[in-house]
């Protein structure tokens, strides 16, 4: 069917168009002021939501919502899976990324310009408080057990760990140069992409200790995990570096589109990569390391955050 192009009005139609099963990607497209909603089993763009303010950050709540962060208009929005705006807040600063804490129904948002995080109510987006950070906080991630919040502090060359329940600071860890994106491996270790030093820092969040520093390609941006491997997008190299999780050895390098950025795993052993310059989403088989599909998106896909909804929609 014809792709649907807009928001709340298309609610009923969009619901009728959902696939019976399969993962769905919610790809923030910064230059196009949009979210492309892609069925990852067919590549069909089910919907294209209009999201003003140059959206970059995204966080999917599997319970039924998608959060977007628009740095230009400083707006954070909560969408239903069907594209209805459920809540919206304008923050005074430079919001860029978000991560959702389902256990406590809280959304964390980094403030790129003001060395802090916002803590928002997950349902209403009402500000609950602020947490201090070092210079230029950017990528955010919650540990697989939900206990730890990690914050990349880009211009401080550090990562900060908060206790997600008590919001107390646990550790700060020196990493490579200009950490931006980060992600927790399924085993709980944190992988941090250092844009300026072209490497990945692996950290034990329990102790805050650096376990390893691994060279990758030019300008590592995001980290995803599948098939016992870490996958790192290299913005300037147009590649994805693959690292074995068991011994942290390099497994290979995959050519993808131009300016690969957001990266996340599907539930069936693939890795999805947003190619910012090309307006495509590459799907990689995490076992064979082949690019098996390339799907079109709106202009300038960034998908900075947890942008894939796993499995059946409610």
């Amino acid at each position: 069917m014809r792709p649907l192009r807009n928001t709340a009005l298309s609610l009923a139609l969009t619901l009728a168009a959902w696939p019976a099963a399969g993962d769905v990607a919610f790809v923030t497209c910064q230059n196009g002021d949009a979210v492309s909603v892609l069925d990852l089993s067919t590549g069909e763009e089910h919907a294209r939501w209009t999201v003003p303010g140059k959206p970059a950050g995204v966080a999917v709540d599997t319970g039924g919502a998608v959060y977007t962060v628009s740095p230009d208009s400083k707006a954070v929005r909560r969408f239903s899976f069907a594209g209805e705006v459920l809540a919206e807040v304008t923050l005074d600063g430079g919001p860029i990324a978000a991560t959702y804490d389902a256990a406590r129904d809280r959304l964390f948002v980094s403030d790129w310009y003001n060395a802090r995080l916002w803590v928002l109510d997950g349902a209403t987006l009402a500000p609950l408080g602020e947490l201090p950070a070092d210079a230029a906080p950017s990528g955010l991630a919650l540990s697989p057990d939900g206990a730890v919040l990690a914050v990349a502090e880009r211009d401080a060359d550090r990562v900060r760990f908060y206790d997600a329940a008590t919001l107390t600071l646990r550790h700060t860890t020196r990493v490579g140069t200009r950490p931006f994106g980060l992600g927790f491996a399924p085993d709980g270790r944190l992988f941090v992409g250092n844009v300026g030093s072209n490497d990945v820092t692996v950290i034990d969040p329990a102790s805050g200790e650096v376990l390893a520093t691994l060279p990758v390609g030019e300008r590592p941006y995001g980290v995803g995990f599948a098939a016992g491997r870490a996958f790192v997008t290299n913005q300037y190299a147009d590649t994805v570096s693959v690292i074995a999780l068991d011994d942290l050895s390099p497994v290979g390098v995959i050519e993808v589109g131009e300016y690969p950025e957001g990266i996340a795993a599907t539930s069936d052993g693939h890795i999805a990569v947003a190619n910012w310059f090309d307006n495509t989403l590459s799907l990689i088989d995490a076992e064979t390391l082949e690019v098996v599909a390339s799907y079109g998106t709106a202009d300038g896909p960034r998908a900075f955050g947890a942008f894939i909804l796993h499995g059946d929609l409610p």
């Binding site: 140059k54 970059a56 230009d72 430079g94 310009y113 230029a136 211009d155 300037y236």
Partner: protein, 183 residues
């Protein structure tokens, strides 16, 4: 000729260091192409040397090191004042004679010269259907003002306009040099 001073928008040419770290929230991208009558090898012979950008009307002279090897550098001088005038420092990070393409980044430029930060670019020559070549120039960059709420001369639109003007001047010079395809 006017194009020579194209990059020097605004009167102030003080060479303040670019903000290499911080950048705006939204990266911009542009792609400009042109078609010329000459075959790709002939066009690449003119524009494929990272150390020779004399084909661009805004570049008065240049210095550089490293040839066409990865991490080669060049300093493009945009006036007769050489290193004392407006200039752009660049570094090569991809080069393929086979694909007739190279990629480079700006390491240093004053926003008064070019209102961008974190700039990267690709220049590529491709065969054109029906003969001749297509030259493609792509850029990705943030605006010159790293913080929120930029002044008009340093906003996203100003960055796009400035880079587009640079590319257009270069591509126009190639059409002038090689001619437009006959059909």
């Amino acid at each position: 000729m006017n194009r020579r001073y194209l990059l020097m928008s605004g009167a102030a040419l003080a060479l303040v260091p670019g903000m290499a770290l911080a950048h705006g929230p939204s990266r911009q991208k542009i792609t400009l192409t042109t078609e010329v009558a000459a075959e790709p090898a002939e066009v690449w012979a003119v524009i494929g040397n990272f150390q020779d950008m004399s084909w661009h009307p805004a570049v008065v002279s240049q210095e550089g090191q490293g040839g066409n090897e990865i991490d080669a550098t060049r300093m493009l001088y945009l006036s007769d004042a050489g290193a004392d005038g407006p200039k752009i420092d660049e570094i090569l990070y991809k080069y393929s004679a086979e694909k007739m393409s190279y990629s480079y980044r700006i390491t240093e430029v004053a926003v008064e010269v070019l209102p961008v930060t974190n700039y990267s670019s690709h220049l590529t020559v491709m065969p054109r259907d029906g003969g001749g070549s297509v030259v493609e120039w792509r850029g990705a960059f943030y605006r010159g003002y790293p913080n929120n709420d930029p002044p008009p001369e340093l906003n996203d639109e100003a960055a796009i306009a400035a880079v587009s003007a640079v590319y257009q001047a270069g591509l126009d010079a190639l059409v002038e040099r090689f001619g437009a395809p006959a059909s």
